[in-house]
């Protein structure tokens, strides 16, 4: 049991996925304003097929982060994504809680 990756620890899952030869991206909440659902430092790990573990928003924006992450796995260029409740021009998704978050998405290399 203790040798299995902790279901709440995306970084261990990321390492396991890398070992399995999967291409992996890591999304991290880097800033929050207002009532953001997940604290700074929270991780979401995504593979090239869009499989994911962890959470950056409690489900509000994961879909958009996963879509971006799949592209970042291709390009290798990290990106900062921003999500807010009224930010409809940049993103079609938002946070119903009224908060705003910035999420850093990067590929795991090597």
């Amino acid at each position: 049991m203790s040798k299995e990756p902790n279901i709440l620890e995306p970084l261990e899952i990321a390492e396991t996925w890398c070992s399995d030869g999967r291409k992996v991206a890591l999304a991290t909440v880097i800033e929050t304003w207002g009532s953001a659902p997940r604290p700074i430092g929270s991780h979401l790990v995504i593979d090239e097929e869009g499989n994911f573990q962890g959470s950056v928003s409690g489900g509000c924006v994961e879909g958009a982060v996963i879509a971006e992450a799949v592209e970042i796995i291709e390009s290798g260029t990290p990106k900062v994504l921003e999500f807010g409740v009224a930010d409809e021009t940049a993103w079609r998704v938002g946070l119903s809680c009224g908060g705003r978050i910035r999420v850093y998405v990067e590929r795991i290399d090597g």
């Binding site: 049991m1 902790n6 390492e15 890591l26 880097i30 800033e31 430092g41 900062v80």
Partner: protein
């Protein structure tokens, strides 16, 4: 992030050492720093503060936008007593994301048959704890009812500043425990940190329900502690 960086973070977690990861948001370069190492002078105060408070955040240093993430050791539960409640607690703890260890010198209780894959040590706490010390990221649940087994680890947990120390037993049993610990020289405020009767008061009756009450109390202690105080930090 380089895969070697990811491995370094996970290795620090496995060794129960606090680590800070500094990522330059302009180019994605990231580095891992372990607690009590020496840090680059321009980042020193930033990293020290992050490790101390347990808080991650973005900062601008010499015109560079940096994200500092903090990884404090993952919380774990050490249960004293391979009893029915610990069987349920072991299952629940895994689901909630806690590593768990059970210590019980009574080999008839501490059997793999009853506990499956959970880490089970059939040793006296005073024999095993020196080599596997408790720390501020550990919750201790004393569940044997037996002072010969429970008292030593309770004292060790208070000394190690465990974020949670709970002990099974009725109010009468606990009053006797308070008396014993006081006579043994444990400070009154330290004794006051012991949660007893153990578990949140939800009217739990069965061993599984008591395990839920204990786990809920442990989570409350973890999430509501003061991140700037002596005990651990937020994760």
């Amino acid at each position: 992030m380089e895969r070697s960086t990811l491995q370094a973070i996970n290795a620090a977690r496995a060794a129960r050492r606090a680590a800070a990861v500094v990522t330059d948001l302009s180019d994605g370069a990231s580095q891992v720093f372990l607690e009590s190492a020496s840090f680059p002078p321009e980042w020193d105060s930033l990293i020290v503060e992050a490790l101390r408070s347990g808080r991650a955040g973005v900062a601008t240093v010499e015109g560079r936008s940096l994200f500092v993430n903090v990884h404090l050791p993952p919380p774990r539960i050490v249960a004293i007593g391979a009893v029915h409640i610990s069987q349920a607690l072991a299952e629940l703890a895994a689901v909630a994301g806690f590593d768990m260890t059970i210590i019980d010198p009574r080999t008839a209780f501490a059997t793999v048959e009853r506990f499956g894959a959970v880490e089970l040590l059939a040793e006296w706490p005073e024999d095993i704890l020196p080599s596997r010390p408790l720390d501020r990221y550990t919750a201790l649940a004393a569940l044997t009812h037996d002072p010969k087994i429970d008292d030593y680890p309770i004292r060790a947990a208070l000394e190690a500043d465990c974020f949670y120390v709970g002990a099974l037993g009725s109010r009468k049993t606990h009053a006797a425990r308070v008396e014993r610990l006081g006579q043994a020289g444990v400070a009154t405020d330290a004794i006051g940190r012991i949660k007893a009767p153990i578990g949140l008061d939800i009217g739990a009756a069965s061993p599984a329900e008591i395990a839920v009450a204990i786990l809920a109390e442990i989570i409350e202690a973890l999430r509501r502690r003061d991140p700037t105080g002596g005990v651990g930090g937020t994760r």
